[in-house]
């Protein structure tokens, strides 16, 4: 009896830990969804009448047990109208239905009652009105419309000059461009190395395999150090001296940029691709290769014409793992050219369309920057969460598309897998 109870105690401890992990996973997901979407939901405009006779109009940005923080009309510049109000001082709290909220193009928000012109006249610095809403009067459907519009603005526009408002389009494009460029660089090299390792067994092959395995777990920041020291200061500065001497001392390739970041990430993800493709090649039954050889194919023809196409699911698995690792790696980028606010996109309409020497923006770095280095922390943290959610969506979409593709290919080659 005691024996059985002790067994049960152990089992339940393990099960409880597993439950804790599930709770952690769900909690993280919910937190990310809630905090990432909350910035787009239209907040009601609150009117507070205080005991000392003052009347404050604005939106509540944070509330604590004994006080709340109100954002009033930012007349002169962004972030100049926060006030902390103790709950004990509040006499009355209402949501006037005629309250107007103006979103200005430079990121400021203005609140008032009455018509738009009168509210706008209260601003000390003039600015274009981006959106005028009456959130208190709106029904749920209108609110959902506002929410969708705010989210679309976040994904589809550029940030404003203060970097506290506006959208994240350049960072989104920067992230996707970087990952695609990295994939184009890493896949041929990774596949070539995997084929080499599959065909050869000598000393050279063993040392290549050793190097790949050894570097698989090296921290990403060390790759960043290599990118900065070798690519940027070494190769980039050399290119500048030889080809862009007329522009010096302004660096062209001698400072961080898209190309160096993509190369660094390609090195970072190489081991993953090599290991995954090689495993895929090894899983294919020997009979297939023997059959090809019996029909007169050379060893190379068997690999390129037969084994590699059959190993396509494994190639895609390597790509998935590489993309997931690259999209989440922010630390090395901080050394090789990511910036908070890039003046120009690395991908645009002027020839040659892709500008590999330009600095770029990245969603992951925006998360870091908005959370820690923002001039207005009350705006920065929700913005960081929105960015983080967007980054997670990008990673999940890139992953899911590759997984779906892999599963379709797997169906086709199912008979071959052992």
């Amino acid at each position: 009896m005691i024996r059985r109870r002790l067994d049960a105690a152990g089992t339940w401890l393990l099960a409880g830990t597993a439950a804790l992990c599930i709770a952690l996973l769900l909690g993280l997901l919910l937190l990310l969804l809630r905090a990432g979407l909350a910035p787009f939901w239209p907040a009601p405009v609150i009117e507070l009448s205080l005991h000392d006779g003052r009347v404050l109009l604005g939106e509540v940005v944070s509330s604590e047990p004994d006080s709340l923080v109100l954002r009033g009309s930012e007349r002169a510049r962004i972030g100049d109208a926060y006030s902390r109000v103790a709950l004990a001082d509040i006499a009355m709290r209402t949501q006037p239905p005629d309250a107007l909220a103006l979103q200005l193009a430079d990121g400021r928000r203005l609140f008032g009652r009455g018509d738009e012109a009168a509210v706008l006249a209260g601003a000390l610095a003039p600015a274009r009105v981006l959106e005028a809403t009456r959130p208190n009067a709106d029904g749920p459907i209108a609110r959902i419309g506002l929410f969708a519009r705010a989210a679309a603005r976040f994904v589809g526009t550029r940030p404003d000059a203060s970097a506290l408002g506006g959208g994240m389009l350049p960072a989104l494009l920067g992230t996707v461009t970087l990952v695609l460029l990295m994939s184009i660089l890493v896949m041929p090299l990774g596949i070539a190395t995997a084929v080499y390792l599959h065909q050869r067994r000598g000393f050279l092959a063993r040392s290549v395999r050793g190097a790949v395995n050894l570097l698989a777990g090296v921290p990403s920041i060390v790759y960043g150090v290599l990118g900065l020291g070798l690519f940027v200061h070494g190769i980039g500065a050399g290119i500048d001296r030889w080809f862009y001497a007329e522009r010096l001392p302004v660096p062209t390739f001698g400072s961080g940029g898209l190309l160096w970041a993509a190369l660094t990430l390609a090195l970072l993800t190489l081991p993953v691709v090599v290991v995954s493709v090689e495993e895929g090649l090894a899983r294919i039954p020997a009979g297939l290769r023997d059959g090809a050889l019996a029909l007169g194919a050379t060893g190379d023809e068997a690999v390129w014409g037969l084994l590699l196409p059959a190993a396509r699911p494994a190639v895609l698995t390597g790509l998935i793992l590489a993309v997931a690792r690259a999209a989440g790696a922010v630390a090395p980028l901080m050394l090789v050219g990511v910036v908070k606010l890039a003046p120009a996109l690395p991908l645009d309409g002027t020839f040659p369309y892709l500008h590999p020497s330009r600095q770029f923006m990245h969603l992951g770095f925006e998360v870091y920057d908005a959370a820690l280095a923002s001039a207005d922390a009350i705006r920065g943290v929700p913005r960081a969460y929105a960015c983080a959610l967007l980054l997670v969506v990008v990673v999940v979409v890139l992953n899911l598309s590759a997984i779906l593709l892999r599963n379709r290919l797997r169906e086709r080659y199912r008979a071959l897998e052992t």
């Binding site: 049960a8 339940w12 401890l13 920041i221 790696a329």
Partner: protein
Amino acid sequence: MPVNPVTCDALLSPDLAGAHARARRRRERVRRALVGGGTALVMAGLLAIPLFLLAGLLPWQGLPDDAWQRLGVLAAGSLRAAAFAALVAVPLGLATALFTAHFCAPRLRGWLKPSLEMLEALPTVVLGLVATATLAPWLKTEVATLLALLVALPAVLLALAFAFGARVRRAGWLPLWLLPLPVALVAIGLALGARSGTVAIAPANPWNALVVGLALGVAALPLVYSVAEDALFLVPREQAQAAFALGATRWQALTTVVLPAAGSGLVAAVLLGVSRCLGETMVVLMASGNTPIAGVDPLTGLRAISAELALVLPDTAPASTTWRSLLLAALALLAVTALLNRLAEAVRARLRRRLQGLPA
């Protein structure tokens, strides 16, 4: 009889056959060159990392004393962060792996394992954000609540197990039944903490080793879990079934048969987890406060090697003293993580050899 026209032509005319063979040889040479060249490039790139770090340090000019001192503080910071993270990731990861590999209902396992592996794809900058923006402000007042939860969760679990454990025959879906427990405990803890209003344990710095350890632990958890789970799952089912046939309970089969067989895999999981924590950058950068304080106190800030590299290196002139001392730090990080990975790989290889030698 249908005839392949190309083959047919090639067979009939010696000229065509020769051209065909030449084209094949040419293609073969091109492919060989591509494979060899690609591999050489890869090898050069991979070798460039240690070689570049070493070359940057040579000729060795020595470092001033304060640089050594600083490196010591940074190394202590990295170790402290990794140690607290391991305290979170290792028990959680190993226990969950033990449960999913040995007790779990197959359907729950089929759902739980991919979800935890998805967590691995979560960018660590997101975990850093959660740590710095949500966890750190909460822990400013609630360290005592966290400690209470740490004691309460196992205590309640043990009490429940003694009360109902003997009656529950199959534990396959137990985690889902127990899921409300941590949620309820956290809710109770939060409510009590908010009601009492007093701060029992106040951290010296809102961004401290405790916050880093929790977030970094979650970052390393999926790695520890999946390596350990794979090792446990490699143990042939027949061995556990043989133990059942001899009258062992599931728990006895786990402790006497499965654990000894897969033990080295669990060691590898721990080594890989620690290596990951040592090198992880974004979480320490965002949640540690980046104050260079040595010591073991979980409630003070720290500054890790990886964070120092990310913060200082971009603005450092190449070949200066700072640059060289940072290269040395990067080299040390590379050496330690590579060593840990090599060890883990060796341990795993031993496990595979042993299990493949066993009758399946």
